[in-house]
Structures are given as structure tokens and as C-alpha cells.
Symmetry: D2
Subunit: 313 residues, 4 copies
């Protein structure tokens, strides 16, 4: 275990897809394979039960199973962050206590996502929640799903709590990212900034972010680690070269379906086709791709493989 | 118990506020007083754990307590509907089974509210969920909180399932309400239509809706029952007269705060001041009004009382 | 000419479709036929250059032509309202002066629709604009196109200006409509309220609104006039009967295309097929229906004709 | 004049604020001072009548005056782009012809902003508009004001027209920016990408963008040119250092007011206080800052000056 209040975390922290047998059962052998795949690929941490991990679609029993099994498999090799996003403050604390008990290193929390809070309400909520949590916590900005942004001023206010160690931003808004980084680090120079979307992680890291919580790393961890390293070393040419592969993945694997679920279904389907997980069962209210979409994933993967080899860079 | 697949429900079915001691405890004596107040006021059914009941902010244990205690107190006197809106299909079914076991008559379900579904995904979700439910179910349209509308075509598709007996619409969109009523009743002429916002329930009932799920009935059940009766009897003059009182309530009690939470906080604070519940504790992430807002509620109630008597019409 | 500050207007005031030869030319013979059709159908006023009239897609020259020709053809038989919605206050005043010069009776103005104003900015804008206008003005609430709502408090503030005689609401939000009517009439009991969407005009009139600005009246003026009369006379049964025809029109003619433009394209195509206008040219950035969609309009009209006769009720 | 279809444009192309005496009059002496200030500051082009230039709030006469005077003053020293965004295709062509006649080098066009188009309608609109334009054109993505995004697929489709030479993106969405750059450059490797928000221009240029259309350059052209140069030269350390000044400007000058107009009012007020323009009159529906806000601008500028000198870097 690392103490995130003292040792900052940097690098690629993939949001694990949740391998499922059905809506009530984690596919543990696939989870083992996935975690070994990620560790072998050089990632710097693990993020369990994020949006990519379908937290909200999972029952509490499955959420608990994911936390327990992930911590057990990882066995202290990498820092583990657990998402405790919940509409009920009581259940959020319950999840946090399970995470602590299992040996997780940190928590991640997006705002309550049914009622939309005003900014003062949002700040007050976290000022109530955080002291009840047994671990350091990252704020999680995810306005497309949550309806509410953490305003930069709110982040700065919350960053005054030592236990609030960073923010993961999935808004894709570059101005927002820069604004939060600027305001929060005035309060705490070590405030950690992680970028969700892999399509803009490289540039964010060059500008000072700590790393990326990139779903694509479930498929190709080496690629995203290489991207992080290039950015970290300010090797812009290398970064731009890797970026074109990352964009090819984004524009082929993640844009197949018709709905907002394209990213999740495409990613999970590709993980299955790559042998990382056995089945790409997606929890309700989503459903895995049918044959025509699966075929497009196959073609996209074949093209990636042909053009870029095994993406072990 | 009534069989909602055979006997349609009509009238005022208030969405009960949830009387709380704190985030983990239902205030049972207040719940008893509230239910007696509603039954004495002539309402036609009870709706537990709706948005007004703060379902999403409550722990599972508190949700279960609300279901059990409400059914116990009601003791079969009125039909009871229980809201099972959840992002996890498994937990939705769990809540439904508790409701059935406690003797509830029907369920109410809004779409999953973290991931936004496309319409085919939404239909497929309900085609998976509904057969697992032990009771008839109302769809619950709540786009401001859920991000997703039930398209009229989707409602028509789902209305083909006998177990889907109606829809409660809280969109406030009059064109949407008419469109759903028109399309769904082509499929099932008995499809029940309930209007959430009390400000437009009267007109909807005149046009053929079954009734209203009106939060204001927690305060003044007689008023909303009188409004329903006037609409039902096509007494337009009486309706317009009552409407002006309903609008006065809406424009004074529900518009005090600065955020989207004004309605809930104002309603709960007024219920406390009227003696219906002991405390207006609001579950996190909201917090009950402070003194300046409470004083405005007091003044608004005094003005209502002065101008319209005890609102026992 | 009527003085709208003294004589309230009530009834059906259709938003005229703009018959076009191309993007630069009004089809004047069709406009003549349209206006005669509407007057013969018993409507109570004419509304030129509204959203249904594609104001924003028209050049200034075409807008002026529409104002001049409509006033000339009408020749004082009905009150004429002209929409002056513009992002530039100077051009809005220019349009208003043309309207006045041509003999129009009133103006209609939606908020500037490029920059989104806050409510105080919006109020200030109208306090600057209105005194420059040579005619009484209706506010026009159209949030889907304009991004900004007139808050009920803002309407109440603006209703203090004698020249602001009413509001046309196209939000379809029933709570909003009731709230504005309640607040504005506390300031000015004669404040006129018009409902845009025909699907909810009947109920609004019963509750006290002055009438409807209903696009469908371009096709079937008698139907909407009959709906208005039934609502005005509080004949709920008649109203509900007519409502089912109005809903059939809405759900067949207006829902054919894939985009937000379905209503406009469907309406204009139906007007052409009914012989009201010669061509259903739609100004850029929209384009009239192709054959498959045209055929659906034909079938919908045939079904309406078969089931309800000529819709001259 | 440069031929933008042959010679790509790169660098800082400031969107000029429009110096106004009132809603109907350009302040020409201030415009002269502004343009000399920008040219002296080393910017690479001029962008007239953008959102920062309040195009939509200006009368046609003022728009024409701005085009004429800007071209006259510039006198061929820098490439000039003119924004022709309009809801009427006819008026857009009219503006384009004026721009051509005055000697502008290129056009910029955001989608029609009253009616929201679907993507096929949007593509069709540009396929109709572009051939009527006398100059090369940049697409302008501005979803917050226009309601509609150019989907990456739509940009790729339009990039097939030789006359469509690039896109200016003001969405602030980093994933979108990368996606458009990736898709459009597969069609045309010279497709120019400009970033609107200055807070993320540096990183975009490092990743391959051509430059920035940064409002802040009206105040401090040297700063933004230095940022561009650092990014162009892949000098990440220098860039990060300049970025902190850019963020200080953004978080102090642009965040003073309460509404979406804060950026425009703050920028224009600062330009006035810096002596770049004589008055910061803002066209209706906005209004320049009052004393309390002006004082905050004064303090922010003093702090910038104290900490960073004259920002001539």
C-alpha cells in the first residue's frame, strides 16, 4: 500500500472493464487474466468500478466481489483505486470501507448523479462525505453522466482537505482541465490531475497532468504506457506518432454502435476478441454487440495489428 | 390489494416525502402521521420512494424500511405504489420483491440514470426487467434527473406487455404527455396516465389523464383531491379557481432556494411547519433550509392560510 | 388596425408558412391563397415570420417582402403580428418599423439567439428594445431554438411595460406556461398568453390562455378554430374529441423525418399536397422531403380525410 | 493576399474585438489602434467578426463597416479572415462577397444557429453554400452558441471540397479536436486546424494544430505569439511557463461576471483599460461592466503587470 497523501501517483491507471458471466456474477478467471495483462503491460495503477467498469450497472454484491477479487489478485503489486460513486452517501461509505478492508490504496468519487446539486451543495456534500472515508480520495468529474461539473472553485475549496488528493476529469474539456489544474495546485501543489479520455491524455501530461485513466489500456497497455512515457519525457515527436495509433483505435473500435454505449461495447468486445476476457457480456441496460458490429471490431483489430504489429511498443 | 392490471387507478396519488431522523433512519412516528393525514385528506393511493421521497439519496436499508413501514401503516386502506428506480437491474428486482412481500400493489420505474440509453436499449432493458417483477409496473418519465425520455414509440412498444399498466410523466412537457397518451392508448385503451407536476395536473385530467402524483398533497391533500374532482367532473370554473391556489403554492413554497433542490426543500420544510412531520431533514446531498429560507416558508404558509383558510376545501 | 394595448386578441393566430419559389423569392400567389384559406377558415389573426415561417432562414429582403405582401393581402381583415426576432437590436427595430409602415398590429420577439443571456441581461435588453418599437409586442419563448427561457420573474418585470402585451410560449412546458400566466397577470390582468404547440392549446385555453399559434392551422384552420371554440365554451367532451384528430395530425404529419426539422417539412409538404401552396420549398439549411417521405404525408392525409372528412368541422 | 488553398496559415490569428461607439457605429480610430497593436505584437493573421467580435449582435451595416475598415487598415500586411456566420444562406453569401471585394483572404462559417440541423442537413447546407463563396472557407465549430457540432464524419465529407481549407474549433473538447484533425487530414493532409480557446491552444499546436484564434491576443499579442512559438518549437518547458500566465489571465479577467458573457465583457474592459480601445461598449444584448467589475479588471491587470512585466515576452 502506498499513502497517496504522501506519495503522488503518476502514469497510466486503467479503468478495468468488469468481466461478467451475467448480471450477478464476476468472471474471476478473466479478471485474473486481465490484471496480469495490465501488470505485464507496465501500467502504474488499477482503477476498479469506474464508468468503464460499469459500476452503476452492477449490484452491490458484484461491486463488492470486484473489489475483493481485484485486491486479492493484485496482491499489492500496484496501487488500486476503487470508485465509490453513489447517490446515497451511506452506500458510498459502505463501499469505501470494503475497499479499505480489502487493501485498496485510494477512492474515486463522482457527484451524486440523480439529483443535480448546485456548487455549494456539492461542496457541502463532499465536506460531509470525505471525513467519513477511510482512504484518500480523488474527485471524479464526469458531467455527461452525472449532469454536474465540479466547478474549478469547488475543486479548490475541496482541495483544502488533505484527504482530497486529486481529480480525474472525464469531461474532455481542455479548458476545464487546465482551469482545475491551475486553481487546485494553487491550494495544493501536489494535487494530482488525471485525464480520462486517452485521446487527449498525452497533451495533458505534457502540460503537467499526472497521467491517464485510459480505457484502451485494457486492450493495449503497452501503447498507453509508451504514450505516457513520451509525454513525460517531452518527446513530442514520439508522442504524435503514438497519438495517431490511439486515434485510430478511438475512431474504429469506439465508434461502431449507434448510441452513447459505443465506447463501452466496442472496448469490451475488443478485449474479448483479443483474448483478454472470455466474454464481453455487458451489464443491463446495455447489451453486447451483435454479429455485424462484432465483425467491424474484428476488422479494426486486424487493421491495427497489420499496421502497428502487436502494439507492444 | 387491488390488481392494477384489471382495476385502473385514478385520482391523487401523492409521492410521500420521506420523514428522516438522519441519513440512516426513518422517522416512523412522522411517517404514521403523514399517512394518516393523507388518508384523512381523501387521496386515492400512496406512492413511496419517488423523487419527492428522495429514493436515490437513501441507503438500501432505509428504502426497505420505508416500504415496510408504509405498507404496515396503510394496512391495505389505499393502493400503494413503490418506486424501484435503480441503475442496477438486480437491485431493482430486489426492491420489487420487497415491495411485493410487504403487500404493495404496484411498482414505478424510471430508466437507469447513470448511463444514458438509446431508445432500443431502453426498450430492451424493460423487456428484460418487467418479466422479473412480481407486480404491475408504471413507467416513470423523469428526463431532468434521468437524462433519457421514454419516446412515445417506446412507451407504445412496452405497453404491449400486460404488466406495464401506465406511465407517470414528470417532464412537464404537455406535447409529450398528449403524445404518449395518444400512442399508448392505441395499444391499450386502459393505459394509465399520471401527471407529476401539480401545476398542470388539472388540465391533464380534463384531457383524459387518470390523475396526479402531486408533491403538494403532502401538505394539503384536500386541495389536490378537490382539483382532481373538479377536473374529473369537467367543472372548469372550479378548476381554474383551485388552480390559482395551486399556483400560489408553487410560486411561493417551491421557489425559495437557489438551486434545483428548491422544490424538495420547500415542500419538506412546509410539511414540518404544518406539523405533518417532525423534522425536515433532507438526505445528502441536499440539506434543509436555513433560517432565512425557513422564514419565507412561514410567511408563504401564513399568506395561504389567511387567503384560503385551512385549505380543506 | 386594432390597438392591442386596449383590445385583447384571442383565438387561433396561425404562424404562416412562408411560400417560397427559392431562397430569394416569396411565392406571392401561394401566399394569397394561403391567407384567403386561413381567413375563410375562421382564424382570428395572422402571425408572419415565426419559426414556422422560417424567419431566420430568410434574407432581409424576403422578410420584408413577406411583411409587405401579407399586410397587403390581408388588407385589414384580421390583426397581423410580425415576428422581429433578431440577434441584432438594430435589425429588430428595422423590421419593426417596416411592420408598422405596412400596417401590422403587433410584434413578436424571441430573445437574441446566438449569445445566451442571463436573466438580468435579458430583461435589460427588452427594456432597451421595447421603447424603440412602434407597436405593441408579444414576448416569444422558444428555448429549444434560442437556448434561453424568459424566467417567469423576467416576464413579470417586463409586463410592467404597457407595450409588452403578452407572451407566446413554444416551450411545451405546462408548468412554465402556468407559472408565467400566474406571475404576469398579477402585474397585468389582461396580459395575453398564447400557446404555440397545438397539442396542448386546448387545455391551455380552458385554463385561461387567450389562444393558440398553431402551425396545423395552415392546413386545417377550421379544426383549430373548432378546438379553440370548444375550449372557450368549456365543452370538454367536444374538445377531447377534436384533440384526438389534432394528435393524429401531430403523430403522422410531423414525425416523418429523422431530424428536428420533421415538423416544418411535414407541415409544408402537407400544405402543398392539400393545394394550399404550390411548392413546399424549404429555405436552407433545410430541404423539402424526398419521395419516400412525401408518400408518407400523402397516406397520412388520405387517412385523415377518410376518417374525419374534409376537417371542416 | 495569400491563396489559402495553396499556402497554409499558421500561428496566432486573433479574433478582433469590435470597437464600438454605440450599437450602430464602429469606433474607427480604436480599430486602427487595435490592428496596429496586433501587427506590432507579431500575430500571424486577423479574424474579423467572430464571436469575440460580436458579429451576431451587429447590424449588417456595422458588419460591413468592420470588414471594410479592417481590410483598409491592414492594407495587405496580414491575412484577413472574415466570419460570415448567418442563419440565412443569402446573407452569408452577401457578407462573403463584401469580404472578397474588400480584399479579405478567407472566410469562416459556423452552422446556422436558429434551427438545429441534423448532420446530413448540415453537410448538404455547406455543399450548397461553399460553391457560392468567392473565397476559401474555414468551418467554425461553436456548439455552445450554435447548438450543433460538426461531427468528425461531416468535416471529413466537407474537407473533400478544395475550398474548405480548415476548421476552427471553439468547443474546448480535446477529444473532438483530435478526432476532427485525425479524420479531416486523412482526406486532406493540409487541412488546417485552429483552436479557439487560448487555455488549450499550446497543447493543440504541439499535437499538430496550425494555431490559435485567441481572444486574449487583443490584450497581449506577444504572449500568445510566444506561446505559439514555444509549442511550434516543441519547447515544453517554455510552453508550461507561458501557460501559467495564460491561465492567470483566463481565471482573473474572464471570470468576473455572473453570466456566459464574462469572457467578452472582461476582455473588452481590459482592452479599454490597457488603452487598446477607447471604450468597451458591448453591443446589446450585453452591456459593459459596471464599476465593481471594472475595478476587478483593474486589479487583475495590475497583478499581471507586477508579476510578469508588460507581457511583451
Amino acid at each position: 500500500m502506498i499513502d497517496l497523501m504522501k506519495t503522488p501517483l503518476s502514469g497510466i491507471v486503467p479503468p478495468l472493464v468488469t468481466p461478467l458471466v451475467d448480471n450477478e456474477t464476476v468472471d474471476v478467471p478473466s479478471l485474473e487474466r486481465l490484471i496480469e495483462h495490465l501488470i505485464a503491460g507496465g501500467v502504474h495503477g488499477l482503477f476498479v468500478l469506474g464508468t468503464t467498469g460499469e459500476e452503476q450497472s452492477l449490484s452491490f454484491s458484484v461491486r463488492e466481489q470486484m473489489i475483493r477479487e481485484s485486491c486479492r489478485i493484485n496482491n499489492g503489486r500496484l496501487p488500486i483505486l476503487v470508485c465509490i460513486t453513489e447517490t446515497s452517501i451511506v452506500e458510498a461509505v459502505n463501499l469505501a470501507n470494503i475497499a479499505k478492508e480489502c487493501g485498496a490504496d485510494g477512492l474515486v468519487s463522482a457527484p451524486p448523479y440523480y439529483f443535480a446539486t448546485g456548487q455549494p451543495e456539492l461542496a457541502q456534500f463532499y465536506e460531509e462525505l470525505v471525513p467519513q472515508l477511510p482512504l484518500p480520495v480523488f474527485l471524479y468529474n464526469m458531467p455527461s453522466h452525472v449532469k454536474v461539473n465540479f466547478a474549478p472553485e469547488t475543486v479548490a475549496r475541496l482541495a483544502k482537505m488533505k484527504q482530497v488528493v486529486g481529480l480525474k476529469d472525464s469531461s474532455a474539456n481542455g479548458v476545464y482541465f487546465q482551469s482545475v489544474m491551475y486553481e487546485a495546485r494553487k491550494v495544493n501543489p501536489d494535487f494530482m490531475m488525471f485525464c480520462g479520455p486517452e485521446e487527449m491524455t498525452g497533451e495533458c501530461v505534457m502540460m503537467g497532468a499526472n497521467g491517464g485513466v485510459n480505457g484502451g489500456a485494457n486492450m493495449f497497455p503497452e501503447l498507453y504506457v509508451a504514450m505516457y512515457n513520451a509525454a513525460k519525457e517531452k518527446d513530442v515527436e514520439k508522442l504524435v506518432e503514438l497519438q495517431s495509433i490511439i486515434m485510430q483505435i478511438s475512431r474504429t473500435i469506439y465508434t461502431i454502435g449507434r448510441h452513447g454505449s459505443s465506447y463501452l461495447k466496442g472496448l469490451k468486445c475488443a478485449c474479448q476478441q483479443l483474448g483478454v476476457i472470455d466474454d464481453d457480456f455487458v451489464a443491463s441496460p446495455f447489451y453486447k454487440f451483435d454479429k455485424p458490429e462484432r465483425d467491424k471490431v474484428t476488422i479494426a483489430l486486424a487493421k491495427l495489428n497489420m499496421e502497428h504489429g502487436k502494439l507492444k511498443l
